[in-house]
Subunit: 299 residues, 2 copies
């Protein structure tokens, strides 16, 4: 089955202590869509400006991503610029130029409205609501978010959480939302807000799922060097949704393995700037690291 | 086989945001010895003053810990006092009264010198050397440490690392020692310093082993509430060494499962002040949580 992915499509200018890369293909939907494409057909919904480089359209197409829901509008593509500190965990935003993203309203082509698997990648909660309003009974909906929406659109976000099957956020966002320092206490509170599945991402420490079949401690793939972690969280959830949409046997039977696949795609994402590494990955590379993780966690 | 454990034996006064507990049984050797005692006969080497409460001797004995190497000297028992912040991760030392610990020299009874498994729990590296000097060909020696020794006894510590089979430290100590932010890069550098097995502890994020059979990502047992993390690292390494010393098939075949057992004992440690919870645990409780961890990590 196919996955519908709605989120931001952007140009990212990224600085790390060792390098600087301007105007890479970025945005939550781009990372998630490429990640999901290793496992399933993907429909992307987003917006870009007239300045959006043709090579990035080619790149989406190389991954067989359905672009019929990608709007191309007069104006400039959303441009984000950020800088990482030496430890590659802390980053600060240098610049945000919303461009055509400022007035973006996701319109779903008719075919998209029937998508069984829906990933509401990181984007304003109001837009995530708007997508859900257009859907016809999706099978499994997951929403991701970021600290910005907790700060400026908390009510929208809280209403959204009630409408989705799965909610994904990182540990500092979970702390901000629940006031709980402890991840497992936070998971409990997040369930009370609505979703059946809650996943807290912990960066290089992996992630934790809490769902109807109990909790799952999902490892991160061990990387001795992180080049650029931008989009790793989006790749994780994109890979997970891609894997889930084609796995036989339902969500409960497959979500753990789906997280492992997401974790592996996220590890490739971290090994290059933007999508540079991820787009050179083959399915066999992914399967290799999944086997590695089996070996790395067996006892 | 039995485990020889050398380290500090102390009275801990611990403050958390919700409670205060004076003069609990503490110290690296106490925590490690009780943890190891669930799996193997333990010989403890340490020093206490004449003020050491009889109830704590009774408690050691309840765990069948051999106290023939525990010196009782004129003077006061080492007393440490610390306070935890709300998130239970950051702590500050309020008071350190060394007492009889100041002039402690570990003398091993003849029987102890032949112990096959040796845990040099956290204590000054010079004393860890002194123990090793007295040993007759131990089978497997592991050393733990703390940031204090990196600050005031670095040369001794670096010489010690070369002499042991396994070296255990936490992530911030690994960073301090190797200047590497990345755990896997740090592991590589630590191996170059000598030991065949290196374990980096990451608190609630679990631990990572790097050894001859590759790496192992060891989860922490999920706890929705941490009462007092003091001694959790000592419990982890103590439980690990206890399990290893009785497991059939050698270190490589058992170290992963040994870490899981250590992780479980550490989880119990965190659920009570000092050793309050650990000393009420039965072997069946431990096995139950090991099964839980199997389920929590399976994919």
């Amino acid at each position: 089955m196919s996955v519908l992915i709605v989120g931001s499509t952007a140009l990212d200018s990224i600085k790390t202590p060792t390098a600087e890369n301007p105007r890479l293909l970025g945005g939550s939907a781009s990372h998630a869509a490429v990640a999901a494409s290793f496992f399933a057909p993907v429909k992307l919904v987003g917006v870009v400006g007239k300045d959006f480089p043709k090579k990035y359209v080619t790149l989406y197409k190389k991954h067989r991503i359905d672009l019929s829901g990608l709007q191309v509008q007069e104006g400039k593509t959303f441009h984000w610029s950020g800088e990482y500190e030496v430890n590659m965990n802390n980053r600060r935003t240098l610049l945000t130029e919303l461009g055509v993203f400022e007035k973006f309203t996701p319109h779903l082509p008719t075919e998209h409205k029937k998508s069984p698997f829906v990933l509401l990648a990181n984007i304003a909660p109001a837009l995530q609501h708007h997508v859900l309003d257009q859907m016809a009974k999706p099978k499994f909906v997951v929403a991701d978010t970021m600290d910005l929406w907790l700060n400026i659109a908390l009510d929208d976000l809280i209403r959204l959480i009630k409408r989705v099957d799965g909610f994904v956020l990182n540990d500092s966002e979970a702390h901000q939302l629940t006031k709980e320092d402890n991840v497992f206490a936070a998971l409990k509170k997040l369930h009370k807000m609505g979703p059946k599945y809650v996943i807290i991402k912990k960066g290089s420490h992996g992630s934790i799922l809490s769902g109807p079949k109990g909790a799952f401690i999902c490892p991160a793939y061990p990387l001795p060097k992180v080049v650029d972690p931008t989009g790793a969280g989006d790749s994780f959830v994109g890979g997970m949704m891609g894997y889930l949409s084609t796995a036989k046997g339902g969500v409960d039977a497959n979500i753990r393995r789906a997280m492992i696949y997401g974790s592996v795609v996220a590890s490739y994402c971290c090994e290059g700037f933007g999508l540079n590494r991820t787009t050179r990955v083959k399915r066999a590379d992914i399967d290799k690291r999944v086997s590695d993780l089996e070996r790395l966690t067996k006892f």
